[in-house]
């Protein structure tokens, strides 16, 4: 695990897919990846919060990445995963279409000013990396759960 430190300009990312895009999250923020488990909806919760799950005795909220990124919802299938991440001192699950791999990225390769995806997605994007034919979109988890979102929840 020591190599996963963000040293030497390298960044390790867990990649996951939504629709046909590939996204990446800093591996240091990922705690584990779960196959989809029973999510208990919480009445009155914001629309992008799917509900809560029992993670070995701890109750963890799960948000739907599709809804969060303004993508149409999709029935979950065999590939569906919940990535459990830690950001801003809290543990949150993110429901994604599938989880692919862990990749090494040279920070130099990160392009910070792309304009891809719709505006909803753009808010949470840290940068993009071109990998062969594909574009890897780096997600900023802190923004994903940022203060304005708390405001939004409060207004709910």
């Amino acid at each position: 695990m020591s190599e996963t430190q963000n040293d030497a300009g390298n960044l390790q990312c867990v990649t996951f897919t939504l629709e046909d895009e590939i996204y990446g999250i800093d591996v240091m923020q990922v705690q584990e990846v779960l196959r989809e488990v029973e999510v208990a909806p919480v009445p009155g919760a914001p629309h992008y919060v799917l509900g809560i799950i029992n993670l070995r005795g701890n109750v963890v909220s799960v948000i739907d990445a599709r809804t969060r990124f303004g993508l149409p919802t999709k029935e979950s299938d065999d590939m569906t995963r919940i990535i459990v991440i830690e950001a801003q001192q809290q543990i949150i699950g993110i429901l994604v279409d599938s989880v692919a791999e862990v990749v090494d990225i040279d920070r130099k390769d990160i392009d910070t000013a792309p304009n891809v995806g719709n505006s909803e997605t753009a808010k949470y994007i840290d940068g993009v990396v071109s990998r062969g034919d594909n574009l890897l979109i780096l997600v900023d988890l802190n923004k994903l759960l940022s203060e304005e979102e708390w405001g939004e929840i409060a207004n709910f």
Partner: protein, 741 residues
């Protein structure tokens, strides 16, 4: 000075001083009832002293000053040199408030701001009239025990001695200054004073004074150090040694020698001895007067005389002057046992060597343990669910014993978190006293069942509502003394605050013998305020009328005085109590008084619930509010006022379909073959029915709060993990009704 909150010494000090402050609060109020209780006075004195010691170690000067001045006054009080009066009580209580405020500041990392100078001035003035008699504590104490007549004589004697000593030499003058009550002597001054004293005779500085002084800077760390930061702990041997040091080779039959024997065995310093002591003092003071026996025996009259005069002086005065000073302490410590021999000695003895039987534990650690036990309970529940699938007798046995052990463990851990309700009750004597005094009422507060244990969180959560209710009782319940007299009641009103355990609940009651409430007035009030139409109001029975005081609109200040709340409304109290899954019940008789009963569960961590099923989802309702469960039948449902109601026991409470509220559209339309029931819940004065698909049963659950993302959702109290490993949402019924009904 910046305050280092990480400092362990500071933390220890805060904890310890916090406890002392709490005790002081109680003691001061007690003191008002028994102003002559010497034990109480001593213990208050020590309380201030200990805080002061700790404070000065941590350089909390402002804190030290207040403690110091209070200590001075209490020293006079405990020596019967001052008489306690109500103004002084007020001042002391203000001191306590100031100290509490300072501790708040320290806790938030600030340097405590100086106390109100007026208060300090008041404290100083308190001791001022007695500046003269302040000197001779030793005689005063002795007098108290034996010979009151000598009191003044002693004062005179010592004064005289002091005066003459002053005339005698320079160091003596310093002593005299000291005697005259200048509190501001610093350590250095004191030291130089000592030097001056011993300088002439070329004696080494007394060892004991040194160690005493050293101890003085250490008490925060080791308050019980044998060296005795507060001087009380000095042993007879040490004292004797100290005396020897003071008087050195020259002083064999010295005046001060009289006390030691007294210290040793009793406070029975005889009149003769005492007289002799006085003589000696006088004799010494007047160096050139005809030699007394002791002087003669000392052999070096010229030298010994001034010497001796000075020696007893600091000792006597040190004991006397309210130990004004850190530095004065050692001397005080030395002479105190002599002054009030058996008394302090006897008390000290049993107190000092008590072995440590308790351990301080961070509450966070207790919370962790509680959480783990919670997990265990859940696992046990799960195993219980699974056990049907096992066909092995041994597995059943194992699970059964696990069941028992877990239950025991749960109780045991719960007990570690328990605190006596005294912790809350302790503040009430003060609250009642202050309020009664400001209102000009006479109120006697009785506390019952203070030892009843309650979950720590509950103790904290209950404090505010209780204060509010007790204030209400005093403010609005108890009448003015004259009014009471006219009504044929004793002038002094009575408020009883009691706690008792009833099964797994705690019942707290606040009973007053005041005016009581008039249901009619309350009826009028709700109608006036437009909170209820006249017809509805007239249908309320008396009890329902009393419950009206919990309505939000009713507790405003313009409300008639016998019911209204102030500041926080009664509705807030009610809300708070329901948050704790408790209930509040009120009963009153016009002219006879009011009784409020609060019933709360013993603990908050584990909640007995009723599990119900809606579609495929499970929800938990706090069992405490469930009144009744009966089968749902559409035949019993009718529509009144556009609301569905169900006929039950001659009443028609409204019913709500939880399905419609709690399941999302998609799920709500799924059919579920269940056995629908109506669960009647009591929310405030209202009874409503919830229709659920199926009642699963009773289950003790551990509340898992929802995380930040979901916190504050209306109607959701938290979640829990059920016996089958799934998640159930715990409903907050009042919130649910507010949000959805």
């Amino acid at each position: 000075m910046a305050i280092d909150l990480e400092d362990e010494i500071l933390q220890d000090f805060l904890v310890e001083a916090g406890e002392i402050l709490e005790t002081l609060n109680e003691q001061l109020v007690d003191l008002e009832q028994a102003p002559d209780d010497a034990d109480l006075l001593n213990s208050i004195f020590r309380g201030f002293h200990t805080i002061k010691g700790g404070g000065s170690f941590l350089s909390l000067t402002n804190l030290v000053e207040v403690c110091h001045k209070s200590e001075d006054v209490f020293n006079l009080l405990r020596n019967n040199e001052l008489q306690l009066n109500a103004d002084m009580m007020d001042a002391f209580l203000r001191v306590l408030d100031e100290l509490n405020a300072m501790f708040e500041q320290i806790r938030s990392g600030e340097d405590p701001s100086p106390a109100d100078p007026a208060l300090i001035q008041q404290l100083i003035e308190m001791q001022d009239p007695d500046a003269v008699s302040a000197a001779p504590e030793a005689p005063a104490e002795t007098a108290q025990d034996g010979e009151p007549a000598t009191d003044e004589a002693v004062a005179d004697a010592v004064d005289e001695a002091a005066a003459e000593a002053a005339a005698a030499s320079d160091p003596a003058a310093a002593v005299e200054e000291f005697v005259s009550g200048s509190d501001e002597i610093t350590d250095e001054e004191f030291e130089s004073l000592l030097d001056a004293l011993h300088g002439p005779s070329g004696k080494p500085k007394p060892v004991d004074i040194d160690s005493g002084k050293a101890a003085d800077t250490e008490p925060p760390a080791t308050p019980d150090a044998p060296a005795g930061g507060d001087g009380d702990e000095i042993t007879d041997e040490e004292f004797e040694a100290l005396l020897d040091e003071l008087h050195g080779p020259g002083g064999k039959p010295k005046p001060v020698e009289a006390p030691p024997p007294a210290t040793g065995d009793s406070d029975e310093i005889t009149d003769e001895e005492f007289e002799a002591l006085l003589d000696e003092m006088h004799g010494k003071g007047k160096a050139p007067t005809p030699p007394k026996k002791d002087k003669a025996s000392s052999g070096t009259p010229a030298d010994a005389a001034p010497d001796a005069t000075k020696k007893p002086e600091p000792a006597a005065k040190g004991a006397a002057a309210a130990k004004p000073q850190a530095a004065a302490k050692p001397a005080a410590g030395g002479s105190k046992p002599a002054a009030k021999p058996a008394k302090s000695a006897a008390r000290k003895e049993p107190a000092a060597p008590k072995g440590e039987t308790t351990v301080r534990v961070d509450t966070a650690r207790l919370d962790d343990i509680m959480n783990l036990v919670g997990e265990l309970v859940l696992t046990r529940n799960r195993l219980n669910t699974l056990r049907q699938t096992f066909d092995d007798e041994r597995v059943h046995k194992a699970i059964s014993s696990l069941d028992v052990v877990t239950a025991d463990l749960q109780t045991a851990v719960m007990k570690t978190r328990m605190q006596p309700v005294k912790k809350v009750f302790g503040r009430f004597p003060r609250v009642v006293r202050d309020l009664a005094r400001s209102l000009g009422k006479e109120v006697q507060l009785e506390l019952e069942g203070e030892e009843t244990d309650l979950d720590k969180n509950l103790v904290e959560a209950l404090a505010d509502p209780l204060v509010h209710l007790v204030r209400n009782s005093v403010d609005h319940g108890i009448e003015m003394p004259d009014v009471r007299e006219q009504a044929g009641k004793p002038r002094q009103g009575r408020v009883v605050l009691s706690a008792q355990q009833e099964g797994d609940h705690i019942v707290l009651s606040i009973i007053d013998d005041g005016a009581g409430m008039d249901p009619e007035v309350l009826r009028q009030k709700v109608i006036e305020k437009g909170l209820m139409d006249p017809e509805t109001a007239s249908r309320l029975d008396d009890k329902a009328c009393f419950d009206l005081i919990f309505l939000p609109g009713l507790s405003t200040k313009d409300q008639i005085s016998d019911v209204s709340g102030r500041g926080v409304g009664m509705d807030v109290v009610k809300t708070k109590i329901s948050q704790l899954n408790g209930t509040i019940d009120i009963d009153s008789k016009l002219g006879e008084g009011t009784a409020l009963r609060i019933k709360v569960p013993l603990t908050l961590a584990i909640l007995p619930t009723l599990m119900v099923q809606l579609g495929r989802r499970k929800f938990a309702l706090p069992l405490s509010i469930v009144n009744e469960i009966f089968e749902f039948s559409s035949k019993k449902v009718s529509v009144v006022d556009g609301r569905e109601v169900v006929l039950n026991r001659g009443k028609a409470p409204p019913i709500f379909y939880l399905r419609k509220w709690l399941l999302n559209d998609h799920e709500a339309h799924e059919d579920y073959e269940g056995d629908p029931h109506v669960i009647m819940v009591q929310v405030g004065n209202e009874s409503v029915g919830f229709v659920v698909d199926q009642v699963i049963g009773q289950e003790e659950v551990v509340i898992k709060p929802l995380d930040r993302l979901l916190q504050g959702l209306p109607g959701m109290a938290g979640s829990t993990i059920t016996g089958d490993g799934n998640i159930a949402i715990i409903l907050d019924v009042p919130g649910l009704l507010k949000a959805y009904a």
